[in-house]
Every structure is written in structure tokens, then in C-alpha cells.
Amino acid sequence: MVLASCGSSSKGGSGPTKPTSKSNATGLNIVPNEGGAIQGIKDESATKPTEGGSMTFALDAESTGGWCLAEAQLAIAGIQVARSLYDYLTVPDDKGGYQPDLATAVTPNSTYTSWTIKVRSGITFSDGTPLNAQVVADNLNAYRGKLATRSPLLFIFVFDDISNVTVVDPMTVRVDMKTPWASFPAHLYEYGRLGIMGERQLKDGKNCFKDMVGTGPFMFQGDWVPNDHLTVVKNPHYWRKDSFGQPLPYLDKITFRPVPDPTAMLNGFNSKAFDLGNTDDTTTVVPGLLPAVKSGAINLAVATSNPETAYTIFNTGIAPFNNILARKAFATAYDFTLYDKLRLDSLNVQASGPFGPGVLGYVADTGFPKYDLTAAKALVAQYKQTTGQDLKFTLSIPNDAASQQSAAVVQSMMQAAGMTMTLKPEEQSTEISDVIAGSYQAAAWRNHPGFDPDTQWVWWHCTSKPGQASAEPGSSAPNAPNVGPASADGPVGNNCDNAVNFSKFNDPEINKDLETGRVSTDPTARANAYQDLNKEFAKEVWEAWGYWSVWTMPYQTNVHGILGPNLPTPTDPNATTSGPHPYTGLSSGTDVSGLWKSS
């Protein structure tokens, strides 16, 4: 999860509109759609890759916490580096499923309360130690906070439903659950954050963040200067080969360079300082590269599905957004078409919910309020009539210029509807700590990358009883209870006991849908549950959905193998032409083992 880098990702409404292809001057289709594909990549499966060489990979940020994966909270830049050094027990495929990777099988019992993981044999870590059940069990225990040397934060909440991890035999691990958990294999990837570390790294107290030991296609040999570069070198003992029988990876070296300044990234690609990179910047980088893309001077891979969602997060625990009238007024006052034109070069599409095209639970029309200035004004008046207060609030935003400019556009929209929105530009860490502490009313936010919706459980699920008012942070006086319409399953509330449900809503319908999605193995039942959840979000307007953030990968014309080779199967670790195809979203980076460079 990260803050919306382009400022307020507030919301208006074009809910019923199915995302349509939106082409720019290049004719390149750059918006998410349901095709589940990736654009800008040629089929090179028949071309035998060239071995050797090196590449410079531009990242949109530095991973300031390093790569002690159990503790790190990696964004895409960090995940991209992690994917070069580590492998996972499971990996996502292009069909929305998960394929075994370091595991050869991940099998549930009949009630889904226990999962057995068979570990692939013959694999060694970069320090020469073997991969076995013990190291896998230690990793899982590290992630869930049960390994003495590690102090995970968010993963404790993610894996709260695991009761026990047991080594059954040298290559088998059993994971017992507190409740049935049918979608557990998705969590063994966890957006690319759940890499399997070697014992040396796991148990290295203060150096775990920089002593990276994995089984991945590349190895770390100590060359990391934070905020400048991190270099990885070819793992000569990597366990996979390509469909031609050539050992993977092809490159000798990759240098990752963090380039947080969009202009510097754009210049780097245009001057060919970077071979490839990751960016979702549709304000500077992507628009700036489009002329070069059009002329064929550079390529641009665009993930046309499984996007991340930019939105305005509401604190429903306090006024005014503990009142649905205020939330609806915000949503209906927001004119996304204008916002997109003014701030996003008309390159983005309005989000209808937390799940973008290609994600289970995606609904084109969730019923989310549409832009309607007259309705917004009426809601503002109704709010005043009900509460006796003018509708005033503060929007917390990052204090960079782009965010402030974006927020000013939203501010004028709210003003037009009769609301008073005060901007609170602040350091990103301050904004995050305010949201964590509940000391905010609304904030620019971005989260929910397109993977299995069960991975979002941690942000929304509550176990406490809904329908009761919560107290203002730092005050003994209770807030007014949520005055919105009750859910079919009972009254909604704002007393969630989940410490990382930053919006604080407690909606029995959402709780029930999340539980169904976690327990059920029936794809239709799961899809229905998450679609219901999506609609419930829209009905209660728990958040103001903004737009789907488009992840792209610019790459020079001599760079090939962007998506990586086909995935392994339980019986064959190597890539085969008939093997499962890799995931086509770019919100968790890409498999770098298949990258190669033509002369």
C-alpha cells in the first residue's frame, strides 16, 4: 500500500460505464480492460535468447527498509528486486490461479483447515545451503511472527488464521489453520512479498535487511548503496532452464537504480541510461515517453488488467464521514472526467471499486454514485439539516507539488457543491502516521493491487460486533453512530477491532463476503461473494474510489523477455512451451530470469 502519488484520488461517478479502450496519440491502448493481457510485448517464444550482458533497471523508489522480507513492506520497486533474488512457494499465472514454484504441491485437507506443502528437491540457496522443509517452516513462522529473530508487522495480521506450522518430513511442511482457508495458496505469494529466505538471512539479527540469501535467478554480493544502486549477479546454480534447454537467467548482471524523480526517470529512458523500468506515473513519465513509443525508439509494456486502485480513504469513525450523506456528497461532487483531463493526461480510467478488471470480484457497475452536482448540493443541504453542521472536512495529502495541484482540482469540485474542503499537505510519513492513528478525516491513498481478493482481508475484516459508535481518538466522548442505511445483515458501524482497518468501518455484509471468499472453493461462489462485497462498498460509499493506476514498463528496443519464461510444473522445473504462462499484471514487477539483450 502506498499513498496516491499523484495527489487526491478522489471519486466521482461513472459507475455504470464499462472501461473502454482509450487510445492516445500513439494508438496504444493504455487503460485496464478485462482481456487480462499485457500490451506492448511481441511474441518472441521462437527466438533463441542471447546469453550474457547486463542491464540497468530503473525503479520508482528505493526500498528504505531493505529486503528482510518478513519485516520489509515492499512496494513494487522492492518487490522487483526481491523477484530477482528470491523464489516463492507459489506464483500467479495468467488465468488468475497459483502454480507451484518452490513447492511441487500445495494440497488442502477436505475441510481446508490444513495445507500440506511439498518442497521441490535439488534447489540450493545462494549460500550453498539446501532448500528443505525446515527452512520453509522457519520462513512461514518468521512471516507470522513466530520466529524469535524476526519482528514482522503487517504479516502478523495477514497470517493470524494460521495456528501451527509443522515439519512433517525433510521435504514436507503442514500448515494448520484456525478456520477453513481455501485461498491460502494466494498468500504464499502475497503480491511477490513472500519470498523464501535462506536460514542465514532469517537468523541474521540486525543484518537481515542487507544479507539477502535466496534461491532466485540472481544473487546479491553486497553491492547496495541506498538511493543509488543495487547490483545483482547471475546465479550460476539457478534451478531452471528455458524451453531451449539453456540455463536461466540469461543476463550476467542487473543494476537496479531507484529514480523517484519522474523527470529524471523520463530523461534516463530518453537518453538510454536505463534499459527498462517500472512506472505508473501518468503525469510525467508515460506521457513524456509516448512520442518515442510512437516513433519506435522505445517500447512500453502496459498491464491492461489487475491494476491497483487510487482513492480517497475516509475515516468513518469520526465526523463528517461517519455519516453516509457526507460520503455520498463527496462522491457525487467529484467529476472524474475533468480530473482525468486536467491531472492525468486523460490516460486513466475511473475505478468502480477496489477490484480492477481481471480481478475476481470486478464489477463494471457497482452502483457507486455518479458525478451529479445537483445531487451533491442536495446531499450537502441534507447533511446540514440532519446534523446542524456545515459539511467541512480536511483532506490529507502528500506535500509534493503534483499532489497539491491534483488536490486543488478536487477542492474546487467540493467547493462547487457547497462543501468546505481544507487541504492538509504533509510529509508522506506524517500522512501515514495520521491515517494509522485515525487522526484524519479523509486522505489520498492507493492500495489493493490486483490479486486474489482474499489478500485484502487484512484491510477490511472485523470480528467485533458492528453497529456501535466508536470514540474520537483522544476523546472520551462517543461519536455519533453511523447514520447510513443498515446492511441486509445488520447495522453497519464504525467500531472495527482490526487495527489496520484504517477506515474503521465495520460492515457485516463485507465481513460475511470476506469469510465466504476465504472458505469457499467454488469459483462462482467466490466471485459472487467478492462482487457483493464490491457493491456493498459502493452502497455504503466506505471509500471514494478514484482511478485504476496503470503499471507500465518502458524498455529499450534491444531488451527482450520482459514477462519471463513460462512457469514450472510440479514435475518439470524448467520452462516449456506448453507450461503455464506467467501472470500478466505488472503491479508486482516481472520475472527477470528471462531478460536478454540483443546486440
Binding site: 528504505t64 528482510c68 535487511f209 537518453s271 494509522i436
Partner: protein
């Protein structure tokens, strides 16, 4: 000996003042350092980590801890997530050489260009050449170094592909590539300095060329070149030297912006990231190291005065 002691005392006072005030300012800065270090967590987890890293201690206790550590050569720690830490000296070891190289190249460029131009302008005082040099200098001083850096980066780096627009290469790895990567940053930093130094030298030289000893030299039939470079330049360089010492601060300030624009992993970029990442201990140590460096450079320049101007040496000897 007394002079050395005086300098050490001066250094201690400067260090104490600078570090105390910067520590005070940082403690007032918005942003929770724990959140900046660990990211998302439950409030109780953040509180526990803040306690573990001593961020919940009173201001004066934190300052005293840092100061006593610094005086013992311990620059404190840079934090990576809830358990990772690394001594600040490691980051400093990477960044300081880059900034020193950048400043050195900028100074070399400045001296190589400013001195001949200043001497020429003084020699041709009042002529068209003097006016052209002066007007160019005015323009250069008026242009902020970051604006020039952006223009150079875009045109020379991105459009013309003549030199790298960003990044750094270690001199030990590929010296030619290193010089190519440092050329635009050094030039961006140097242009303003060149103009300033040149104008300063010109006015000093013009005054020196009016002195009796210059007239005497001319009467002796010494060539103009020798008079300019041997007799006039040396006494005219004292102001230049003073300004060079004082300019170290401006140069350090300039490197912060230039290093960010050209993505050079030096002290400037490190300071910037320490601020944005709320690495207060690291920031404090970096500020202190810069303050110490600034004082040392100015002590060295004071020493150079006596070498350049025999009158000062004699005056001190008599005193």
C-alpha cells in the same frame, strides 16, 4: 600552538552550536520517524518500536546520547525496518568521496577558467574584451546552478547524448566514464563560481596593477606576462582565497540540489534522503561532519594566507 588551540576551541563551539540547533529544529519537524522507518503497522507496534529505538526519550537526553557518541567517533545508526541498522559511517563512506570529487572538479574548473579570465579582464580593463567577459559573468551569476543543471541535463544529456544525464561511475571502475558522469554536475556547480571568482580577481588585479611595485617592474623591462602572473596575481589572490573558504558552505548547499538532479549518490542526496526518511540521527551526524569540514577548510585557508602573503608572516613573527 596558541593559534591551534584557539582553532580547536572554535571548532568545538561551532560543532556544539550547529548540532544543538539542528537537533532542535529536527525534533520540531513534522513526521513520525518510526512510521518513516517501518511503514505500516498497528499503533501499538509503532509505539513499541519507537521505544526500542529510544525515540520516545526527552529531547535533551537524545541530544546528549548523540553528542557523546559523536565525540567518541560513533556517528549513530541508520535504521532499516524494525530490526535492521547500519552505522552512519558506512553511508558516509559511500557519499563523502562522491561529494568531495564533485566539489574538487567544480573547484578545478573554477580555477582553470576564472583565473585566466580574471587576469585577462584586468589586463584589458575597459576594453571590449573586458566588457564581454563582465557581461557574461553577470549572466552566469544571475543563473541559479539548478536551472543550469536542468538545462544541461536535458540538452547535453538527453537531446544530444553527448554526456550522461544522470548517475555515477566509480573512478576505480572506469575513470573515463567517471569523468563523463561528473562533467555536467561539476560544470553546473562551477559556472556561478567562475563568474564570481573572475569578477573578484579582476577588481583586485586592477587595483594591484596600479601599485608602485608593478610600475617598478615595468620600468625594469619585465614582460607583461611575467608581471601579470608572477607579480600581480599573487597579492591579488588573497580575497579570492577568503571567498573560496567561505564559499565551501555555498558549494555544499549547491551539491544538494545538483546531486539530486544528476542522481549522484553524494552527501547532498544522502542529506536529502535522511530528511525525507526522517533518519534524524543520521542527519544530525551528517550536519556535524559538514560543520567540522567547513571549519577545517577555513583553518587551512588561514594558513595559506601566510604562504601567499609574506607581509602576514612577518607581521605574525613580529607579534
Amino acid at each position: 600552538m596558541r593559534a591551534a588551540l584557539r582553532r580547536i576551541l572554535q571548532l568545538a563551539v561551532v560543532l556544539l552550536c550547529v548540532s544543538f540547533f539542528s537537533f532542535g529544529l529536527l525534533s520540531l519537524a513534522p513526521g513520525d520517524p518510526v512510521v518513516a522507518i517501518v511503514g505500516f503497522a498497528a499503533p501499538s507496534q509503532l509505539k513499541a518500536i519507537g521505544h526500542q529505538l529510544h525515540f520516545d526519550r526527552p529531547f535533551l537526553v537524545q541530544y546528549w546520547d548523540w553528542l557523546t557518541g559523536f565525540l567518541h567517533g560513533n556517528l549513530g545508526h541508520q535504521y532499516f525496518g524494525p530490526t535492521g541498522e547500519q552505522n552512519v559511517s558506512t553511508a558516509l563512506g559511500h557519499a563523502l568521496p562522491v561529494s568531495l570529487q564533485l566539489m574538487a572538479y567544480a573547484m578545478i574548473l573554477t580555477i582553470l577558467i576564472a583565473i585566466p579570465l580574471g587576469v585577462l579582464a584586468a589586463y584589458k580593463s575597459g576594453t571590449v574584451i573586458d566588457k564581454i567577459i563582465n557581461t557574461t559573468a553577470f549572466g552566469s551569476i544571475a543563473m541559479p546552478d539548478f536551472a543550469l543543471a536542468l538545462v544541461l541535463s536535458y540538452w547535453v544529456g538527453v537531446k544530444l547524448h553527448w554526456l550522461p544525464s544522470q548517475g555515477y561511475e566509480y573512478p576505480t571502475h572506469d575513470f573515463v566514464s567517471h569523468l563523463q558522469h561528473m562533467a555536467l554536475p561539476a560544470l553546473s556547480l562551477a559556472v556561478g563560481q567562475i563568474a564570481g571568482y573572475m569578477r573578484l580577481l579582476r577588481s583586485d588585479m586592477v587595483a594591484t596593477l596600479q601599485e608602485d611595485f608593478i610600475l617598478m617592474a615595468k620600468a625594469k623591462g619585465i614582460t607583461n606576462r611575467r608581471i601579470l602572473w608572477r607579480h600581480a596575481l599573487r597579492p591579488s589572490s588573497l580575497t579570492l582565497l577568503t571567498v573560496a573558504g567561505l564559499n565551501v558552505g555555498a558549494l555544499i548547499g549547491g551539491t544538494v540540489v545538483i546531486e539530486i538532479i544528476f542522481q549522484l549518490p553524494g552527501m547532498g542526496l544522502l542529506l536529502y534522503t535522511a530528511i525525507t526518511e526522517r533518519q534524524f540521527v543520521m542527519l544530525q551526524s551528517l550536519v556535524a561532519v559538514i560543520a567540522v569540514g567547513y571549519v577545517i577548510v577555513n583553518v587551512l585557508i588561514d594558513t595559506l594566507y601566510t604562504i601567499l602573503d609574506p607581509r602576514l608572516r612577518h607581521a605574525r613573527a613580529i607579534a
